[in-house]
Amino acid sequence: MSPALAGVLQLTALTAALALAYRPLGDYMAAVYHSPKHLRIEKVIYRCIGANADAEMRWPAYLRGVLAFSAAGVLLLYLLQRLQGGLPLSLGFASISPDQAFNTAASFVTNTNWQSYSGEQAMGHVVQTAGLAVQNFVSAATGMAVAVALVRGFARSRTGDLGNFWADLVRGTVRVLVPIAVLGALVLVACGAVQNFSGIHEVGQFMGGAQQTNGGAVASQEVIKELGTNGGGYFNANSAHPFENPSAFSNLFEIFLILVIPFALTRTFGKLVGNVKQGYAILATMGVIWLGFTALMMWTESAHGGPALQAAGAAMEGKETRFGVGASSIFSVATTLTSTGAVDAFHSSFTAFGGGIQLLGMMLGELAPGGVGSGLYGMLVMATIAVFLAGLMVGRTPEYLGKKIGTREIKLAACYLLITPTLVLGFAAASMVLPDALGSMLNTKALGAGSHGFSEVLYAYTSGANNNGSAFAGLNANTPWYNTTIGLAMLLGRFLPMVFVLALAGSLAEQQPVPQTAGTLRTEKPLFAGLLVGTILIITGLTYFPALALGPLAEGLS
């Protein structure tokens, strides 16, 4: 079987699996967030944290919940790392330095999972399992909660109430993430991923010398790493490591886990706003971008230009032979179009255009299908902008799902739109002039790899600000400058948008809905989905074109 055919078949199988899971999972999540009942375990949790899960919250209260919970998470994770030296089961690893501990804490709480450390050389069992893995669940549940709050903003009228953050957080974790993670972990263990608390083993190598490997609760962390679009690997090699991702099947299964919730949330959205077709339009928009990017990636990686690539039959550098070009392309697009950032291949070694596709995928704002929750709310904000432009062209004050997009709404959507470009371009520009930052670059102009070096810096901030977490290696990011600025980019890139999303939700929820007439823009039609795709591509393209031209385009066209 040719690699291209293998890729297409895997993509087909993946799409079929996602399609099968779409309705049941989407409907289930809609029921979870809509149900008035609490499970017994949830009641116990509410009692422990002292939350009244039945109290409706207006958007400022909801936001306070998000921020307080996340701040506590950052603090706890920071302390765990700083105190690691004194903790049991730390495998003898020392405490983490302050800037790296801050970076890692910010990274996991923001669902980014940018790692400026190597898991197997820095983090013991306690930090990995009680710190990082816990955040993998709750940071994902936080994203879903915010998305559900925005959906409620569209669905509800003449009220400021957006639901209860604590209930949404706990339900997302207990009823959605944990059950799927348990099943998924069993599948991964069956595939051969490790799950133990063993220490470090020295293994002799065929070529002489010894290699250290350590065990750990890998499968359980791996499953939520993908399912919660987190991406922080137990090991430095991430999903390219055989203990995390042993086979071609486990690879495909992990991609499925990455995509299943973000896609299914569009169904949840449709259900909650009372019109599943609206969800299909958003799904179509996401699907078109996702399939388009995947096809493009497979093509750039297979259309081999240089002599080395031709000898290998494809751009195989940095890719696992057990996955090949097709599966690696599908994985890398899935991980950069969501806020996952897990990798099963070395992103920096993709062709220049391939790297450009990964960059652009994140620059879109990770909304096709995007991170769990964050993909949906990102897409709905873009839909708001698209409705505003297109709505005017049908001769009415723009409205989406019966809610008018007026001054306040467009102000909030525009602020949302400004955040990540400011963080990405601002920090990248600063890094291009500060000698400290320039010193981190391993690929430089002097080595004839100026544009690739620039792409690496651009990638680092794009990944951080968009909460992706994957990296173009070749950049030593474990320096005070990068640890701090990427940490800031992650925090601001996660929570500022949430502020605007929740404010938008509040503003929408207060409105009285406008009934649909023949004069209303039909947002459930293919025309609108096409328009939304165009708006996303053009706005992102215009924002980042100069930067992309000097990075991947300059490299690829040389």
């Binding site: 005017l392 997009i405 001054t407 400004l418 002039v433 025309l527 924002t543 100069p546």
Partner: protein, 714 residues
């Protein structure tokens, strides 16, 4: 295209047969435009206006004025900076060329606004002429004193006689007069103003032609209708509308995004070893920010108001114009809007044993003395359908005429031994029975059938040598204006529900509603019913538009999202509504909705066009900037522009010229046809989205070709 409907002249508002004061025949030509230029076309754009508006455009370069449009303010700052940089290397033609075109870009934007405002100014000047300083004859108790019009206060009583200019807005409290209101409405036929009722409002600046009236002043000097009108057409009172503000926010944030993209580009470029001159970066910035829509945005708003003014509608706020585009329920008064102002004879139905010719003859004879519109229509029908020549009262010698009165409810004639009567069925039956005659058995059934069909039956009876008897029934019906049905179909397609408001009973109302094709009707409507209907619609999230003229309409006019008061109406109605129709033509509501929609479409279309344009500009400028450092990037030069300098300059020139090219579109508005939202979006996306993507590739290439011909540059 609906055919213009021309009502029958004076008295069209009269729905009863009692005499009503004649009022100005309104120009009921929808839009007053030529066939083929779209339904709501605008005034034509005259290139001459560009020249005459130039001084205003230059005056608007004042940064304090410019800052109101964030996008163009950035361009102006860019122009200043570019000029400074050009001065630092005065021998470089490129810097000067960019600076010059950036200034032109700002100037073109100001020009667009100045041209839009210029049209209103001309109108304001005419109005000012009407607002001459008048002397008012104020009544103080029994005495009368002469005071300047500006000294009048609310509640003052003034007297006006033939030849006087009315000194201020007010209501007639005593007397009747004919008034020339041409200064405001442009309509030369005089109108009647009388105390009490719905025709009591007079406007300052209009002229009394006959009789004497006493007016109670209702507005302060300086705030009169004519003052507000001057402010409106001049744009002095213009405030940004909610949608305009929202769009400005979006444009400002896009400007920030592009500012960011350009500012951060320099460090990237320095790292790549291709540091860019400031002038080039400024040129890139101006090309990227949405200058096209930024330049034309206020012109579009002013032109939208102006299109209303051209149709003799004054919108008290731009917000109302925008709301008009969103209207989903139209309340239309039956009389004068949906139907012609009066019932007309449609048919003569004979009873058993009578011929149609007999009844036609009798009906005509008996109606010759009936000067009401209904009476006239009977004569007309007899002539048109039965070929009966109209006889004049004078030619029948010895005839004794009985004119129609509200008391007798009959009219007729006694001539040649025949006595003919026609009138309301009760009155005619009584007349026949009084004379010992028989009422045909089927007369009742025929009358009822007509009533059930929504018509009004009039009986015709005669007393001659065969004795008194009923000849038959005249079927009077409301005549739906020509083309209304098609209009309602169009409105439905646009998603607008029409509700007919009428004082008729439900049966009649339903028949007319069915015939006209409105979606719903409100029969036996009282002002309270109207109000309740509006509130009900609004509670469902709908925006409601209505017209009204009476004082009892005022609360509903104020409650409606778009309330159009008739200029003939009371001052309370005019105060309550947010638009005034100087022609007092209720059908115009439909056009107002279309103008509102057109305004929003024009904004959206030009925004889309502006943003889509940027793609081509990137392809022109980015290779020009970096092809030296990274030769591979020349692949992106898909237009094969002749040189980097020419590429950048061509993009800037295109950017400036496209503003001028679109000024006519901004002023006239995007072509609007009443179709569904889906079709409209498809069309506009194809024209302005796709067109906006492709047009600059062609335009920039052409400009580059021209530039490359200039010796020493290309």
């Amino acid at each position: 295209m609906t055919a213009p409907v021309k009502p029958e002249g004076p008295g069209t508002m009269a729905s009863s047969s009692t005499a009503t004061p004649p009022r100005a025949p309104h120009q009921d030509v929808p839009g007053g435009h030529q066939p083929g230029d779209g339904r709501v076309g605008g005034g034509l754009f005259d290139p001459q206006q560009l020249l005459t508006s130039l001084p205003d455009a230059i005056r608007k370069l004042d940064p304090r004025v410019m800052v109101k449009s964030p996008v163009m303010f950035v361009v102006e700052v860019g122009s200043v900076l570019t000029t400074i940089f050009a001065c630092t290397s005065p021998t470089d033609w490129f810097g000067w060329a960019i600076a010059a075109w950036l200034w032109l870009t700002v100037l073109f934007a100001n020009l667009a606004e100045a041209v839009a405002e210029g049209r209103g100014k001309a109108q304001a000047d005419t109005l000012r002429k009407a607002k001459t300083d008048t002397v008012a004859r104020r009544i103080d108790g029994a005495a009368e004193e002469q005071v300047p019009g500006t000294a009048l206060r609310i509640g003052d009583l003034v007297v006006c006689e033939a030849g006087d200019i009315i000194p201020g807005d007010g209501d007639v409290v005593e007397g009747v007069a004919s008034v020339d209101e041409s200064a405001i409405t442009g309509e030369s036929a005089p109108v009647i103003r009388e105390s009490g009722g719905d025709r009591s409002a007079v406007t300052g600046g209009t002229k009394v032609l006959s009789d004497r009236i006493v007016i109670k002043i209702t507005t302060k000097p300086g705030e009169t209708f004519i003052d507000r009108m001057i402010n409106l057409v001049e744009g002095a009172a213009r405030q940004k509308t909610p949608n305009e503000i929202a769009l400005n926010i979006l444009l400002a944030s896009l400007t920030i995004v592009f500012l960011l993209a350009v500012v951060t580009l320099q460090p990237f470029a320095i790292y790549a070893g291709a540091e860019q001159p400031m002038i080039v970066l400024l040129a890139l910035l101006v090309c990227l920010i949405p200058t096209t829509i930024g330049a034309l945005l206020s012109a579009i708003g002013i032109a939208g108001m102006d299109r209303l003014v051209q149709r003799n509608v004054l919108a008290m706020s731009g917000r109302a114009v925008e709301a008009a585009g969103d209207v989903s329920t139209l309340l239309l008064d039956k009389t004068g809007t949906i139907t012609l102002g009066n019932r007309q004879a449609a048919e003569f139905v004979p009873v058993d044993g009578t011929t149609e010719a007999e009844i036609a003859d009798a009906a005509q004879l008996s109606s010759l003395a009936d000067e009401t519109p209904e009476g006239r229509s009977i004569v007309v029908l007899a002539k048109e359908k039965y070929g009966l020549r109209e006889r004049h009262q004078g030619e029948l010698t010895g005839a004794e005429w009985t004119p129609f009165t509200a008391q007798t409810r009959m009219s007729g004639v006694d001539v040649d031994g025949r006595t003919v009567r026609k009138g309301a069925s009760g009155a005619v039956i009584a007349w026949v029975q009084e004379r010992g005659g028989d009422v045909a058995r089927d007369a009742d059934a025929l009358s009822n059938a007509i009533s059930e069909a929504g018509g009004t039956p009039l009986l015709v009876a005669v007393e001659d040598d065969k004795g008194p008897r009923v000849l038959g029934v005249i079927h009077l019906k409301d005549v739906v204006k020509e083309g209304m049905r098609e209009r309602f179909v169009e409105l439905r397609r646009m998603g607008i529900k029409t509700v007919m408001i009428t004082g008729d009973n439900p049966l009649t109302a339903k028949a007319i509603a069915d015939e006209a094709g409105v979606d719903d009707f409100l029969a036996e409507a009282t002002p309270e019913d109207k109000m309740a209907l509006i509130k009900r619609e609004q509670a469902g999230g709908k925006l409601v538009a209505m017209t009204g003229d009476g004082t009892n309409d005022a609360p509903a006019l104020a409650q409606a999202d778009v309330g159009v008061a008739m200029n003939t109406g009371t001052s309370a109605a005019k105060e309550a509504g947010n638009m005034v129709d100087l022609d007092s033509n209720p059908t115009k509501l439909i056009e107002i909705v279309e103008i509102g929609k057109q305004l929003l479409i024009t904004r959206g279309a030009l925004t889309t066009f502006s943003i889509a344009n940027d793609v081509a500009k990137y392809f022109a400028i980015i290779p020009a900037m970096f092809a030296v450092a990274y030769p591979g990037l020349d692949t992106l030069n898909v237009m094969r522009l002749s040189s980097p300098d020419s590429a950048i300059l061509s993009a800037i020139i295109f950017n400036a010229l496209v503003i001028v090219a679109l000024v006519p579109l901004a002023l006239k508005g995007v072509q609007y046809r009443p179709v569904s939202a889906d079709r409209m979006l498809r069309r506009n996306l194809a024209v302005y989205g796709l067109g906006g993507l492709i047009a600059p590739f062609i335009g920039i290439k052409l400009i580059d070709l021209l530039i490359s011909l200039i010796p020493g540059i290309g």
